[in-house]
């Protein structure tokens, strides 16, 4: 929910309740006030009538508003106020009247004097109050809405500017600055804090990146020395079997570390987007060429290869990354296959699907693209292949999915 929406909704709820309460109170106060006024007026009427009778003995009658008559017995002399219903000829229905009556002695005669007047009808009153409060309420809401909108446009403007600038934030661009300035203390502080945070993040990131690259590079040199020394050692004549096996074992593991650091370096470079030069690449051609690289391994495992590749499929990307993606996916399909299994490659204009037979995954598919995640501990590969594939896809904004269907492991890349 947007801020403006939220405040508007709150204003609406609070002022709506307040207005409802106000209307009810208003109604009761008004009706009490009117009743009081009516009583006062009727008393006044009775006083006037009494005065007229005293003066000239005439009995004024104006039904139903004024009624006077002589009565025989004197009962009581106090005022009596009642509410009554009287039929009205115009409205053709009974309507409520307020009546104040008095039995009094004037010039030794007993008189019954009554003054009446119509109430304000409750329905009418209610209607009027509802309309008035409703109108005021709407007026208030409309003005609140405009005030809010103006405020959020003006006051919140630096906030939205900051937000937009933050969206553009990238680790790769040092010297990130927020340009918006505000008179408001809160926003100034927000910007200062954000700037501090981003500067720190960028410098941390840069040093981590430098460290990873340097570390990988620095590891390569001693490994190259170890590798060359071992290759020299292998040449010694009269090497015994167990000695040769020891040397070979060290050699194989040294190569593995070397491959691992290279792969990590590659991952870091992909993550840092250090492959900027893109060109149009024919994926179909690339795939057909890379398949050749695996011919011998396919033969060795007696795999059946089904190719369904469109003749041309041009994609704008970095050549090295495209190559890396294809090799990693394909080598996985070969590696995690079973003897006499199969590999299907399907390339369409906007997607690449590589599926292969193999044991079902012993792990959740969601972990498949994690670094160092191995499904099978017997393989020497460090489990970085799919992590590289995932990084390449992320960088190119391609979507990658894995499914296990019809006993086939399927990886689909949508370009």
């Amino acid at each position: 929910m947007r801020l403006l929406q939220k405040t508007n909704r709150t204003y609406f709820l609070v002022s709506g309740t307040a207005f409802l309460i106000a209307a009810v109170v208003f109604y009761f106060v008004i009706s009490l006030f009117f009743k009081d006024q009516l009583n006062e007026k009727l008393f006044h009427d009775i006083k006037n009538i009494t005065r007229t009778i005293k003066k000239n003995g005439a009995l004024p009658n104006y039904y139903p508003f004024i009624e006077t008559r002589e009565v025989s017995a004197q009962k009581e002399q106090s005022f009596k106020a009642i509410d009554t219903l009287i039929y009205d000829g115009f409205e053709k229905r009974k309507i409520p009247f307020r009546q104040i009556s008095l039995i009094t002695v004037i010039n030794d005669k007993n008189y019954f004097i009554a003054a009446r007047d119509t109430f304000i009808e409750e329905d009418d009153l209610l209607e009027v109050i509802a309309i008035v409060t409703g109108l005021v309420f709407i007026l208030l809401l409309v003005s609140l809405y405009f005030i809010n909108r103006n405020l959020s446009l003006k006051i919140w403007q630096p906030f939205y500017k900051t937000l937009n600038e933050l969206k553009e934030f990238s680790y790769e661009r040092p010297g990130f600055r927020l340009s918006s300035e505000s008179q408001l203390y809160e926003f100034t502080e927000l910007n200062q804090t954000l700037e501090k945070l981003t500067t720190k993040a960028i410098s941390d990131y840069q040093s981590l990146k430098r460290f990873t690259e340097d570390a990988s590079h620095e590891i390569q040199t001693p490994l190259a020395v170890i590798q060359s020394k071992l290759e020299t050692l292998m040449q010694y004549p009269g090497l015994k079997k167990d000695q040769a096996e020891l040397i070979n074992s060290i050699y194989v593991y040294a190569l593995r570390i070397s491959r691992l650091t290279q792969t990590l370096l590659l991952l870091t470079k992909i993550a840092n987007d250090q492959f900027p030069d893109k060109k149009s690449i024919n994926m179909a051609e690339l795939i057909r060429e890379k398949i050749k690289m695996f011919e011998d391994q396919i033969l060795e495992k007696s795999l059946t290869l089904n190719e369904n590749i469109i003749p041309e499929c041009f994609i704008e990307t970095n050549f090295f990354l495209a190559e890396s993606l294809v090799i990693n996916l394909f080598s996985n399909a070969v590696k995690h296959n079973i003897k006499s299994g199969m590999i299907n490659i399907k390339l369409e204009k906007n997607y690449l699907e590589i599926s292969n037979s193999g044991e079902p995954l012993p792990v959740p598919a969601s972990k498949l693209f994690d670094r160092f995640y191995k499904t099978n501990k017997t393989y020497d590969s460090p489990g970085l292949g799919l992590a590289i594939v995932k990084e390449i896809c992320r960088l190119n904004k391609w979507e990658i999915n894995y499914v296990f269907e019809d006993n086939l492991h399927k990886v689909i890349v949508n370009f």
């Binding site: 020395v225 060359s228 470079k269 990693n328 590696k335």
Partner: protein
């Protein structure tokens, strides 16, 4: 043949020098940019091995100097893996070949030999090992005068063996030489074996001798014994 090795890692230089000297090359070494400058100004070399990351200066700048002073020299640059830019720039500036670090000594030897053949220092496009003769221009192999019917990969493997004759060659090195760097993604190198078997068979039919020996799980050695 005189080779200049420009590389700052002394231990690595030691191994390379040791290996190449046994191959009959004359080796000199420079451990820094300035040493390299001195050597290049003073002497002529047939082949120069240049590591691009040097203390004291950019290896790429040395290429200019080499092209001025040692125009005839074959230039092999060594670059760290993954630094594609250096590779491309080096070749653009006139390097003849490149090799990525870490490399197999047998691979280095193979590159140098190929460079030497291309520069025609050996004066010949033929490699001879006893009754086996390889023509590197036409990619043909003769055993006792009979041409062998080899596949492209078999030819590459055999050439690699003969260039590195009498040396133990690891399976990893063969795989990377023939199938390229990316083959290291493979889970095993069993697929090499069938090619080796074929080569062995094809030579044996014509010469009656087996030169390809297994070396205790490390790899192979191409030698008389």
């Amino acid at each position: 043949m005189k080779i200049l090795i420009i590389e700052d890692e002394k231990e690595l230089v030691g191994s390379i020098k040791n290996f190449l000297e046994k191959e009959g090359f004359l080796c000199e070494t420079s451990f820094s940019y300035f040493e390299a400058e001195d050597s290049l100004s003073a002497y002529n070399y047939d082949i120069i091995i240049l590591d691009l990351t040097l203390p004291g200066g950019d290896g790429l700048d040395l290429i200019k100097l080499i092209k001025e002073r040692n125009r005839q020299a074959g230039l092999l640059i060594v670059s760290a893996k993954n630094s594609l830019d250096d590779k491309v720039r080096g070749l653009d500036m006139g390097a003849d070949d490149y090799i990525t670090k870490p490399f197999h000594l047998a691979e280095l030897n193979s590159r140098i030999r190929s460079l030497a053949r291309r520069q025609h220092f050996d004066g010949s496009n033929e490699l001879i090992f006893n009754e086996i003769k390889i023509n590197t221009d036409s990619n043909e192999v003769f055993v006792n005068g009979t041409m062998l019917d080899l596949t492209k990969k078999e030819f590459d493997i055999l050439l690699y063996f003969i260039v590195n004759r009498n040396k133990v060659i690891t399976r990893e090195s063969i795989a990377e030489h023939v199938w390229g760097d990316n083959i290291s993604y493979a889970d095993n190198f069993d697929f090499i074996y069938s090619h080796i078997k074929n080569i062995r068979k094809k030579i044996e039919i014509n010469s009656g001798r087996n030169y390809l020996h297994n070396i205790y799980g490390i790899g192979y050695k191409f030698s008389e014994r």
